[in-house]
Amino acid sequence: MSTQVPETETETETETEPAGESHQERRMTEKAAKREYRDAQKKAEQELRAAEESVHLKVFRYDPEVEDKQEPRFDDFYVPYTKGMTVLDALMYARDHYDASLTFRHSCRQAVCGSDAMFVNGRQRLCCKTQLSEMAEPVRIEPLPHQDVVKDLVVDMEHFYDQMHAVEPYFQSEDVPKEEQRQSRENREKIKMSTRCIWCGACMSSCNIAAGDNEYLGPAAINKAYRFYMDEREDEEELKEHRLRILEQEHGVWRCQTQFSCTEVCPKDIPLTEHIQELKREAVKNNLKFW
């Protein structure tokens, strides 16, 4: 790459489109040329930044559609550090100041939407609630393991959603009073933690069993089932049996080998492993067959 960065930008002319040529290809080539120039500028800027108080990020990059990103790689970003900065703040800074094509999901910035679970320094975390000050440098940011990468830090969540939907995660009782149903404080307390799940996928991504068995319901879905199974407002015997049957199938609760990795990474501190064990107990008590 040329190290001579021109002072001023060159004029560009708007071009008329020659017919027949692959539009997309041409566009890509042109963009690549422009990019090279801008990369040089950014590189110079980044070297300057590296001298100030900054945080060094190593970010996974991949895009099946862009030639120089088809081979996965890591990019270095140096982000100026301010007190209280989170990993998400740093990613946003890098995207907005250095490389607009840096892609990741995020929305609420406050650990409730579950969009920005990633693999940060070798562990599943929500970037928005991970303080940079607690991370060793360089901070390595990768997409969630065991899931197909769509682009950069974005993974395909479809399978995760399928598993969640497989446990029939909804109230099914048709028999309701006119006013509210009663629920004891104790019972609400019992299901409280399980209702905090934000569907971020950190647990599923950390689970060795899920990695090796694509049909395994996984900790998030089983926890969702727990939330309904344990809710006293829906205690019809038939329904509970029905829920247990889903859970005790071959790829259900019995696949769990209590490694606790899901519990360890859950950003909402849900005792996932414990919930799975409780459901195993229920299955045994119910005297149904297990595999």
Binding site: C113, P169, I191
Partner: protein, 614 residues
Amino acid sequence: MYEHDVIVVGGGGAGLRAAIAAQEEGADVAIVTKLHPVRSHTGAAEGGINAALREGDDWELHAYDTMKGSDYLGDAPAIETLAQDAPEEVFQIEHWGMPFSREEDGRVSQRPFGGLSFPRTTYAGAETGHHLLHTMYEQVVKRGIQVYDEWYVMDLAVTDEETPEERSCHGIVAYDVQSGEIAGFKANDGVILATGGPGQAFDHTTNAVACTGDGYAMAYRAGVPMEDMEFVQFHPTTLPSTGVLISEGVRGEGGILYNADGERFMFEHGYANNDGELASRDVVSRAELTEVNAGRGFEDEYVMLDMRHLGEERIVDRLENILHLAEDFEGVDGLKEPMPVKPGQHYEMGGIETDENGHTCIDGLYAAGETACVSVHGANRLGGNALPELIVFGARAGKHAAGGDLGEAQIETGERGDIEYDETELPYQPGEVGMDTGPSGGVAADGGAVAADADAVVEREVEAQRERVSTLMERDEGVQHSQIRADLQKTMTQNVNVFREEEGLKQALRDIREIREAYQDVYVDDPSRTFNTDLQQTIETRNLIDVAETITLGALVRTEFRGAHWRAEHQERKDDEWLKHTLVGWNDGDPTIFYRPTILEGENKTYEPKERSY
């Protein structure tokens, strides 16, 4: 082209509720959302859901509190509908499994909230919105309602008759974020906009990064007036570093505010002698800033919110989420220390003008939730009234769009009926600047020739959006959206904040004009069609510009102090002149401002504007 009876844009509280209601009415429904539904910002709502459920409370009290809170700018039919429908809707979501906090006898708990004469705020810890969102999404899954998640809706497909009131909406154009495919969605019965708030127009906001006012901008450009946009709620308790919301529930449970001199200023400086910390939000936000401006703030920026005296047991039981937020985002242990708080942009009272059935002045176009303005909240929303708004008006819009009968609406919409036009001198002509990177001005120009053919209307809009994307992608230099968005947030935060002055508002309008011009040279750097967030944010930024302009226009023309709208030069509420809604119409890029009187006649009584004190 995809086709459904009813298409709901947005998968938050209002959108999910609308979809369920439309499906119950027998329609084939689809939800199109740029996120996945469970990622919607309804999930971040903390405090609760107001509903008159108990002995000693009734819907009329709820309506009265809401009207008073609105500083008499809410419309009585809308407010009374909210208060009447809320109890039923709350029981409905409870039946669907909402894990409400409970009383000893197993009934749903309610707590005091700002501006309420009765503790009627039902809640689920300090994470009510999260549970509401998930409970409703569960019902969507149960019903097998189709969800196009991570599809970004770019514009509406609307016919182009001369006046908006003659137009019809036939669908939307969206692109699949994951693949870049641009597609038309035809709606046989109606499109419901439920896209949430515009918080990203400000730099210190409780809103998510996704709250970019898409619905407002699309409806606006299609010809629907934006109503009362100048009324922006600044929540009094947000964390200074991030804008993360600390629920009003903290004050509802007994938390106190104090300044750097240790004074409980709400009482000691006379801001609200009766209700103190539990005055309405506009009052508390102004009080805090007044303290800071008088040099009695901490670090010239914030005040303290203290809940330590409530005791660990109660805090963990009812406000546990607040402990996590204070710790994760401010490094403060709420059990041992007070929490720093300052006002932050939180909610837009105004929005897409609708009647109490969610219908806009364009046939087949509906709106519900924060993006709509019915108007329930008038000049100031009470805490705990946003979530019932989502479910009450989401359900109504869904039902109505699917052909259900809700009776005749009492609220008029569009440029008709009892309206008057504004004559204010503006510092420049707002609106259109050579729209080559914009949407097609909302509607194409063919004099209504294809109005009868819904497919053609959608197809034409698909073409227009394809062209727009090509233009943005082909440019390979210019200015990036992140710069434009930062400039916009800066001027809005500086000039259209809690305290507003005429010169500042004019400056904001001039800045927005420059920002519009800069947007003509915006380009998308990322060449990829796969998950191109650069492209998405570029389009969102255009929407924010339009929304910010309507907010600022409204703020400039309304020369009085009402609710959340405080003007340096106009320190009193002027009921003789201003008991009316501000409406801004796009008018094909040459915005018009007009007014419609507020409706104070309710079912059983007429609401008399009184001095508002807490």
